[in-house]
């Protein structure tokens, strides 16, 4: 089919946003989307909560078990896009075994990274840095932050 009007079509070379998006949907993130870690339910969680994003219909059911002040185990179920699922998978992985304080700090850094704050993404975030490209996609921030907000709420409810 032809483009019969005078439109100056996109050249084949990807522009900056296209490159950013391609970098975001990298193998690591798609792997977490396809094979989410910590998916499921705990037998006897200390905290269980549900968080929703009405805008896109995403839902996360989160369960956390503590060992004193330490996050012993954490599981999630729910449905959503690659970004929200990968974030949930990677975050739960990262937080297991951490003290509440350390976990809260990681969540805070992650949130700031998603919001595009310069220098927020340090080593403590580990693989989660793969999600830094989301910062340039404001409409996807809620996807990236759904699990993180739920985890922060779970931690806060223990204090």
């Amino acid at each position: 089919m032809s483009a019969p009007d005078d439109r100056n079509r996109a050249p084949n070379a990807p522009d900056a946003q296209q490159a950013n998006v391609a970098a975001l949907y990298q193998e690591l993130i798609l792997d977490h989307y396809r094979r989410p870690r910590n998916r499921g339910k705990l037998e006897s969680p200390d905290v269980a909560l549900r968080k929703k994003n009405p805008l896109c219909g995403d839902v996360i059911d989160l369960q956390v078990q503590f060992d004193g002040d330490t996050v012993r185990d954490v599981r999630f179920t729910g449905e959503g896009c690659a970004i929200s699922q990968a974030a949930a998978s990677m975050l739960t992985q990262r937080l297991k075994g951490k003290s509440s304080a350390d976990a809260a700090q990681i969540l805070d850094r992650f949130t700031r990274m998603v919001h595009g704050e310069e220098g927020a993404a340090d080593e403590s975030l580990g693989d989660l840095r793969a999600l830094s490209g989301v910062s340039r996609l404001p409409v996807r921030h809620p996807c990236a932050l759904l699990a993180s907000d739920a985890l922060a709420e779970a931690l806060a409810s223990r204090r």
């Binding site: 089919m1 100056n8 296209q18 949907y25 219909g57 959503g80 896009c81 970004i83």
Partner: protein
């Protein structure tokens, strides 16, 4: 397939030649003629209509009045007083549910909607049922998402007071058999309420001939400005209904203890009207009339047909709803396990604007068994190049996600 109207008539599209706008079911881009009409109203004739005792206000009133006549004619409403300006489809349908509904629906009555309704034609009826104690019934769809007339016939009875349905589904593009639904509704003494938000922009609408009792549409989905829409209704019903909003312009006399109401259409237009919006909508109608609604429809059919065939040919693509011959210019689909939000983000990076989500139709999503779909919708300014871009973007997304096996 060239565009029915040149992109150069649409300042936003002209300024962004790479932009592929495929979200017209959400809102359309605006032709220069509409923007000029709004501006001209404010620059030449701006005053509060109905209230003035000076020439400027007479001109404002006249332009508002002319806009009403023009939009009424476009929608096949011969009794111009029965064309009420509202903010949009949502307000129009709420007006009917609140004013006609509270006056006519009682506990034990039944309200029937279809499983494909937009929240605007679902929640007001659901809430009216909760408020009045009426029974809220949902007519399930056929396998390909059409209104199931047999099922509908079986559901209707002497308790049915309202049958509310979308003329065109904003998710599936399905076109409802309006005459048949009206006949079934009237056959049991119910009124037929038609959500025309996706019909008025894309099909020839003849309100009088259709037999529907109420018809709602939004200006911003038919080349017009935001903040203006219409409700057409039968005079006998409108005359008998209590007002919806009260205040200035809609009253006749305000005594200390009670008030009486102005005649139609004013009874349902409380407060200062959005005259500039009405003038803008009339200009939009003028643009559509110049193209001709038959040409608009033919153009969309060609586009949706081509898009359907090319998307359906891609491995893993699932398209919801009827075949391309029977639908309006809307395509909802999914691509393998690529989530619609991810798909939209990837397409956006290719300058292709589609919508992803529940499309304000959560009941329909449940019935389709999905939480979300991707949706591309076409209009007068789209052409084959837009379909090329859509197809290329979908292929790119598929490829991106296929790097990791499921």
């Amino acid at each position: 397939m060239m565009s029915a109207l040149s992109r150069s008539d649409f300042p936003l599209l002209a300024a962004s030649p790479r932009l592929v706008y495929l979200d017209s079911a959400a809102t359309t881009q605006k032709p220069r003629a509409v923007l000029d009409a709004i501006r001209d109203f404010y620059e030449s004739d701006n005053a509060n209509p109905h209230r003035g005792a000076y020439a400027l206000s007479v001109r404002a009133t006249q332009r508002y009045h002319d806009a009403r006549a023009r939009v009424a004619k476009f929608l096949g409403v011969s009794d111009t007083d029965c064309l009420i300006f509202t903010r949009g489809t949502t307000e129009s349908l709420n007006l009917v549910a609140a004013s006609w509904g509270r006056a006519n629906v009682r506990a034990g009555d039944e309200i029937v909607v279809t499983g494909a309704e937009h929240h605007a034609n679902f929640v007001p009826w659901q809430q009216l049922a909760i408020e009045t104690g009426a029974r809220f019934r949902i007519c399930e769809l056929t396998a390909d998402g059409a209104i199931d007339l047999d099922r509908l016939r079986a559901m209707l009875g002497s308790k049915t007071k309202v049958v509310a349905f979308a003329h065109v589904s904003n998710v599936l593009g399905t076109i409802a058999p309006v005459r048949e639904i009206v006949e079934l509704a009237h056959g049991v003494g119910a009124i037929a309420v038609c959500d025309g938000a996706q019909a008025a922009p894309h099909l020839t609408v003849r309100f009088d001939a259709s037999g529907v009792d109420f018809f709602a549409a939004s200006g911003h989905k038919m080349l017009g400005p935001m903040g203006i829409g219409v409700l057409a209704g039968r005079r006998a019903l409108l005359d008998a209904m209590p007002p919806f909003l009260t205040g200035g312009d809609m009253i006749e006399f305000v005594e200390d203890e009670h008030s009486t109401w102005n005649r139609l259409p004013h009874k349902f237009e409380a407060g200062t009207p959005n005259a500039a919006g009405a003038v803008g909508l009339a200009a939009a109608v003028g643009v559509l009339e110049r193209v001709g609604m038959d040409a608009v429809r033919a153009h969309e059919l060609a586009l949706v047909g081509a898009a359907y065939r090319r998307l359906a040919a891609i491995d893993g693509v699932r398209i919801y709803g009827p075949g391309p011959e029977d639908r309006s210019g809307v395509l909802s689909f999914n691509v393998g396990d690529v989530h619609p939000h991810d798909l939209a983000t990837i397409l956006d990076s290719h300058h292709v604007c589609i919508r992803a989500g529940h499309h304000c139709a959560q009941p329909l999503m449940r019935r389709l068994g999905v939480s979300a779909t991707a949706r591309a919708s076409f209009y007068v300014y789209n052409d084959d190049a837009d379909i090329d871009a859509l197809v290329n973007g979908v292929m790119a997304a598929r490829e991106m996600f296929s790097r990791v096996g499921a």
